[in-house]
């Protein structure tokens, strides 16, 4: 998926804030949103991997999205939520501070990600959406999991 993909239909997006920046995910990728429960840390994992939790009998990895985007760490609080998303055949939990709203965006409202010379942005931002004067970054989930060999050590 490259940022310039023509997208014509209307899609629903779920948005959340990390510090003062707004981000969103395609709601089709979201399976559920649940409250924070402490995770069991995994050894030898990158810092943005918070560990694993029990999701009705399945072992669900939790990624700190803020850390993954290089914006610091989420300090889990009562408002923090885990957005459970499908990535391929996997289910992954994304820890964010809070979910703000669900919004609909026309495909034409999605603009290519401006090049700000940042590898993280290029990798994880699929496009940006201008909505009532706000700028919301649409997150690409494809690369969000750690790469097996490169980052596990």
């Amino acid at each position: 998926m490259t940022p310039g993909d023509p997208v014509n239909d209307t899609r629903e997006l779920i948005s959340f804030c990390i510090d003062e920046q707004e981000f969103c995910l395609d709601i089709m990728a979201v399976r559920e949103i649940r409250g924070w429960t402490p995770a069991t840390p995994l050894p030898h994992s990158p810092p943005y991997v918070r560990g694993v939790i029990n999701l009705r009998g399945a072992v669900l990895p939790i990624l700190d999205l803020k850390a993954r985007l290089g914006l610091g760490h989420v300090e889990p609080s009562a408002r923090s939520v885990i957005i459970v998303v499908h990535i391929g055949s996997r289910l992954v939990g994304l820890l964010v501070d809070a979910v703000s709203e669900i919004l609909a965006a026309e495909g034409s409202a999605v603009q290519p990600t401006p090049n700000v010379g940042c590898e993280t942005v290029n990798r994880f931002v699929r496009g940006i959406i201008a909505n009532e004067g706000r700028m919301i970054s649409w997150i690409a989930l494809d690369d969000i999991l750690p790469e097996q060999a490169a980052e596990a050590a």
């Binding site: 402490p38 995770a39 069991t40 840390p41 995994l42 050894p43 030898h44 994992s45 560990g51 694993v52 939790i53 029990n54 009705r56 009998g57 399945a58 072992v59 669900l60 990895p61 996997r90 289910l91 992954v92 999991l145 750690p146 097996q148 596990a152 050590a153």
Partner: protein
């Protein structure tokens, strides 16, 4: 999936089952149990493999299966005795057939020379019999076979009542259905309908035979139809319609305008079976030969056997009983759900206890019952997926035959406990170790025939493969009556390779187990038969990865026994639950030799960072689990914690230090890879009673990592 692909997969599965029952049947024939049911089952197996092969166009397989089937048919009809030589040949033929199946699956190739030679040998078994060659060597054209052989078929009756209608050139067919025809599910109207499909027809009904009402038998057939068809209608197409009905609906077919009515004998006596014809057009020679072979088969000889098989109501050799087939996915899903139920039940119990309910309260008692029920459900569900080890064992006779052939030794394989059941997850992993142990037994265990004779043994060596349940585990034993382990030699090799100190004092058992050490097996000690480049250390490692153990015992001159023990399932695991820092971890019980609380004088420092624990005279490296998993940077004082003395493949024994032991528990194994990926030092995860995820320690990986990190530490006595 394309439905035909799905059916093909079914066919391959079925082939595996058929090949298994083929081999099983032949083996019992070899053992002298030659009853007609067995022979029938063997015949049917090859027959069914052939049938499907034809459907999917596996020509080579059809060809071979056909020859095989022909020979088996001779046996079935009593023309060929199932003597040991014949059965041995058939066993090898079964191997070739299995190769054909594998090739059709795309999993191998067929040695064509071997296949042809085998086909010739099979054909030779029946060729001299009764003069007429009935083997594949005789190509023949199908239509003739059909015609020539079809004795029952068509015998036209003549009716003088009608002259051919007028002079218009065309076919004139008189059909006179009989009572018998209607009794076999035919209907004259359907014949008329079929005829009308061939072209424009003119049909006349002759009811002149119809009696008065009082004389009418409602079951009798009184009508005669005359149908006229255009001259260009192929005769074969008309006759074909009446093919199977035969005498039950006599027809008279004449072509007016041409020379009328050939004598019946001169016409191709029988209608041509359209299906056979269609087949012959598009299917292989072998299929045509099948028709031929069948045609010349004396029915009288073949039928008694078939009758007997049919009437005796014999259960399938695999042990019948009412069974249903269920999609494995559904069972797996159920096992998952029950796993969740077990976890939920444990969570509920913990919450209730935390809430301060008394043990004797009704709620606590209800929970106890729930726990028991949950366990029972879990056991029952696991039992559904349990399968007899037979599916693995049945591949072994072939392996033994081939290994015996390759080494020139005479080997008899004895199998016991094939009905022993174990979870499917384990079954799939048994094949390799058993294969390896059997090869090893034949290659290294058994002596050559000359050596055996010289030492007063039977020429034929015996290898025994047995399965049994023992204390909640499955035990597989592979034993031979060979020469036993040459201990001085093993010791010499181990010393030479630096695996043990030259002056190490080892018991016989310890020496025997040296062969499992990594680096013991090398090209010089392993022939290309048993080794295939793999040493016993690899076998042991793969077994340990499954939570299993392997041991060997040997008596010089009498033979060796490898004993392999595995959990009955890979879905649950018996674990030691321990605390490490803030976390709870599970160590597989099978890896733990003992747990102990070290006394200060037993802990010795070694080098700048290393430490060892003195256990009954030997020194075992200490590994802090928290440090190994990166939870803490400094190890805790071992005397303040507990030590799990573990046996790891890579580094022998090690002493893993945890903070505290919580207890032993059976846990449901949850994969980390399903939603995430492999994590170093962690074998899998589980969910504990408090609902939190606990990691299951990969003991080997932890020990290995520690050793590679401390490469500069002092070498350790691995085989202590």
């Amino acid at each position: 999936m394309d439905p035909m692909d799905a059916i093909k997969q079914t066919y391959f599965q079925e082939c595996d089952e058929l090949l298994a029952s083929l081999e099983e049947g032949l083996l019992s024939l070899e053992a002298g149990e030659a009853d007609s049911d067995t022979i029938n089952a063997v015949f049917r197996a090859v027959h069914s493999v052939k049938g499907g092969a034809g459907a999917f166009g596996f020509q080579a397989m059809v060809g071979f299966a056909h020859v095989f089937e022909t020979t088996l048919d001779a046996m079935r009809s009593g023309k060929l005795d199932p003597d040991p030589e014949v059965v041995k040949l058939m066993l090898r033929a079964a191997d070739v057939l299995a190769d054909h199946v594998a090739a059709a699956k795309g999993e191998g190739t067929v040695d064509e020379a071997r296949g042809h030679a085998m086909a010739d040998e099979l054909a030779a078994l029946v060729a001299p019999e009764g003069g007429a060659p009935r083997t594949s060597a005789t190509p023949a054209s199908p239509a003739h076979d059909e015609d020539g052989g079809d004795e029952w078929g068509f015998k036209p009756l003549k009716f003088g009542d009608d002259e051919p209608a007028a002079a218009s050139a065309g076919w004139r067919l008189v059909m006179r259905p009989t009572k018998a025809m209607y009794a076999k599910g035919h209907d004259a109207l359907l014949f008329l309908r079929e005829l009308s499909r061939l072209g424009p027809t003119a049909t006349t009904l002759d009811t002149s035979w119809l009696p008065n009402l009082e004389g009418l038998d409602p079951e009798e057939s009184y009508c005669t139809w005359t149908v006229e068809l255009p001259a260009e209608t192929p005769e074969v197409a008309i006759r074909d319609i009446f093919d199977f009905v035969g005498d039950d609906c006599p027809i008279e077919l004449t072509l007016s305008g041409a020379n009328v009515v050939e004598p019946p004998a001169a016409t191709p006596a029988a209608p041509i079976d359209i299906d056979a014809l269609l087949n012959s057009v598009r299917t292989p020679t072998a299929e045509r030969e099948a028709l031929e072979g069948g045609a010349e088969k004396p029915a009288a000889a073949a039928t008694p056997a078939a009758d007997k098989g049919a009437s005796k109501n014999v259960p399938a050799p695999a042990g019948a009983g009412a069974t249903i087939r269920v999609d494995l996915e559904r069972v797996d899903r159920m096992i998952d759900l029950v796993g969740e139920l077990v976890i939920n039940q444990a969570m509920l119990q913990q919450r209730v206890m935390e809430s301060g309910a008394a043990r004797s309260s009704t709620i606590a008692m209800g929970l106890d019952e729930l726990e028991q029920l949950t366990r029972e459900i879990q056991d029952s569900v696991m039992a559904i997926r349990a399968q007899p080890v037979k599916s693995v064992f049945q591949r072994m006779p072939r392996l033994v035959r081939e290994a015996a052939g390759a080494t020139g030794k005479q080997v008899r394989l004895v199998m016991e406990g094939e009905g022993t059941e174990v979870d499917k997850t384990v079954i799939e992993r048994l094949s390799d170790p058993i294969t390896h142990m059997l090869r090893n037994a034949i290659d290294h265990g058994l002596e050559s025939t000359e050596e055996r004779v010289a030492s007063g043994k039977q020429e034929e060596g015996t290898v025994r493969l047995a399965a049994l349940h023992r204390s909640g585990r499955i035990v597989i034993e592979v034993s031979d009556d060979g020469k036993g382990i040459n201990r001085p030699k093993v010791r010499e090799i181990a010393v030479k390779k630096g695996l043990i100190a030259p002056d190490a004092s080892l018991t016989d058992e310890e020496i025997d187990n040296l062969i499992f050490l990594p680096g013991f097996s090398t090209a010089t000690t392993i022939s290309n038969l048993s080794g295939r480049g793999v040493g016993m250390d690899v076998v042991k490692r793969s077994i340990q990865a499954l939570g299993g153990r392997i041991t060997i015992s040997s008596i010089p001159g009498k033979g060796s026994t490898f004993t392999l023990s595995l959990p009955l399932t890979l879905a649950v695991l018996d674990g030691m639950v321990v605390s490490v820092g803030e976390q709870t971890l599970v160590a597989p019980l099978t890896t733990i030799i003992e747990t102990l609380r070290p006394k200060p004088e037993e802990v010795r420092r070694l080098g700048p960072r290393g430490a060892v624990l003195a256990v009954r005279g030997s020194h075992v490296p200490l590994i802090d689990i928290g440090v190994a998993l990166g939870q803490r940077s400094e190890p805790i004082d071992p005397t303040q914690g507990v030590v799990l003395l573990v046996e790891s493949e890579v580094g022998g024994r090690a002493a893993l230090v945890a903070d505290e032991i919580q207890g032993q528990r059976q846990v449901v194994i949850k994969s980390l890879e399903a939603n995430f990926q492999r994590v170093e030092g962690v074998a899998a995860a589980t969910i504990l009673g408090d609902g939190r995820v606990a990691l299951i320690l990969d003991v080997d990986a932890v020990v290995e990592k520690m050793f590679s990190d401390r490469r500069d530490a002092a070498p350790l006595a691995k085989a202590s």
